[in-house]
């Protein structure tokens, strides 16, 4: 079973690698959105430092939403998804493998890029560390919850926008705890615990729900 998970994951990663431009465009979108905020709000370093964690998190959420449609769309278009549904292996695990690959291809680059953008917005070193860690814990949750929305809307017209519409309200707790970790006076540990709890919950529930949604979509 483990080798199956690994194989699906490596296949998706190989596909992502061959379409590097897609992965890169999500990352560039992230950088662009973050760069828009100083232009819209003004260059005062004090203001930017205050809003930086929120800006980085909101932009990460938007970038994650943008990449959602890639999760199942290509496999749906070429019929791979139907083969996955027909395979004797538990669909939940196959979906989990796909989500993991999707996070490595689209979520992890955001986590790695965030410190650089944090420096650009004038965040302090300690805050940048906290923020990167909160993104590392939080973006997998975004991918997991997002998978449910992507699965529900697979094959629909305007699927990308619709999936964001469904998923964004459900992602609000992640945003609150993720961006809140940086501002926390009492220490970020409580926020990390909560983010970890969300991650565990999402790991347990989201692949199940996404698999059920795929069965509904391809019934």
């Amino acid at each position: 079973m483990g080798s199956l998970l690994l194989r699906v994951m490596l296949r998706d990663l190989a596909l992502a690698w061959r379409q590097r431009a897609d992965v890169l465009s999500t990352l560039i979108f992230y950088v662009m959105v973050v760069s828009l905020f100083p232009l819209g709000i003004g260059p005062e370093p004090a203001t930017l430092r205050v809003i930086a964690p929120g800006v980085l998190w909101v932009a990460a959420l938007l970038a994650a939403m943008l990449s959602l449609s890639r999760l199942f769309a290509a496999d749906h278009a070429d019929g791979t998804l139907e083969q996955l549904l027909l395979s004797p292996h538990p669909l939940t695990l196959l979906v989990l493998a796909k989500i993991t690959a999707h996070w490595i291809a689209s979520g992890l680059p955001l986590v790695l890029m965030a410190p650089l953008l944090g420096v650009q917005l004038g965040m302090q070193a300690a805050d940048i560390g906290v923020m990167a860690l909160s993104l590392a814990l939080g973006t997998p949750v975004l991918s997991l919850i997002g998978a449910v929305g992507a699965a529900l809307t697979v094959g629909l017209r305007g699927a990308a926008v619709l999936a964001s519409l469904l998923v964004i309200p459900l992602c609000i707790p992640v945003l609150i705890f993720g961006a809140g970790a940086v501002d926390a006076d009492a220490g970020a540990a409580a926020y990390f615990s909560l983010l970890g709890a969300l991650l565990v919950l999402a790991l347990a529930g989201a692949p199940l729900a996404a698999a059920a949604a795929l069965r509904i979509a391809l019934d």
Partner: protein
């Protein structure tokens, strides 16, 4: 275990169940709904008149807020309904998903616009109430924010069902979304409360509920009843339209 029960015992239970299950068929339920709708609307009007009368003429003027507080008679019932209807909607959707009953899923779809309407009314009247009492239309308070997110959840449900052309897929996809939403609502609510207590100073205290005169409470409860009756009537009305659209039941023929 069920295989060993005597057939004698089973017969009456099946008959009792059959009465209810008969109405699970849209064709059988449509005439019943047609007969019930006027009664629910009539009750809604009666309770509405009684509730508004108590609210505007019987209930005393508030010592601190003067007459402005009277928006409570529509605001609080609307807020209650908005939350209740989401739960009821998710329940019907789940029943439809689990037992594969078409009517339950249609009921969920019929409830969604009413729920969204009440959520919007709660937000709107809240803004109208907030301006004279707190001096602002909108506060990023935990309750207001949760209510706004609830509106987003309703909109997501309606948008998803509208985007899917196959009605059975729309039913089941909507059901899954509603169930995921219900699981998430406590998490969202508590995260928003946590966020709010950390960010906002104690400028506006919404949690200290003042003592309420008995007539105020009566007026609010009667208005809530009116909202219940309206919701059931409106949902059944919409349900009949959905049935007519999907099952080809003639609406004119039914009465």
């Amino acid at each position: 275990m069920s295989a060993q029960t005597k057939p004698v015992n089973q017969a009456p239970r099946e008959r009792a169940g059959a009465i209810w299950l008969r109405y699970a068929a849209p064709l059988a339920f449509d005439p019943l709904a047609a007969r019930m709708i006027p009664w629910f609307f009539a009750a809604a009007v009666l309770f509405g008149i009684a509730g508004l009368y108590i609210g505007f003429f019987v209930a005393p003027t508030d010592a601190q807020q003067n007459e402005v507080y009277r928006v409570i008679f529509i605001h609080v019932p609307a807020a209650w309904m908005s939350m209740l209807i989401y739960l009821v909607m998710a329940m019907w959707a789940a029943i439809g998903l689990i037992f594969n009953t078409r009517l339950s899923s249609m009921m969920a779809s019929a409830l969604a616009p009413t729920g969204a309407m009440f959520t919007f009314v709660a937000l709107w009247t809240g803004a109208l109430w907030g301006k004279p009492t707190w001096g602002t239309w909108w506060v990023w308070d935990a309750r207001l924010t949760s209510e706004l997110i609830l509106l987003f959840l309703y909109i997501g449900f309606i948008a998803l069902q509208a985007a899917i052309e196959d009605p059975r897929r729309a039913d089941r996809a909507g059901a899954l979304l509603a169930i995921v939403g219900v699981v998430n609502i406590p998490i969202i609510y508590f995260s928003v409360r946590w966020w709010n207590t950390l960010h906002q100073g104690a400028s506006v205290s919404l949690t200290s509920a003042p003592k309420m005169a008995a007539t105020m409470l009566t007026g609010m409860l009667v208005m809530t009843l009116a909202c219940w009756m309206y919701s059931i009537g409106a949902a059944l009305w919409r349900l009949r339209s959905i049935m007519a659209e999907r099952e080809g039941i003639s609406v004119v023929e039914a009465d």
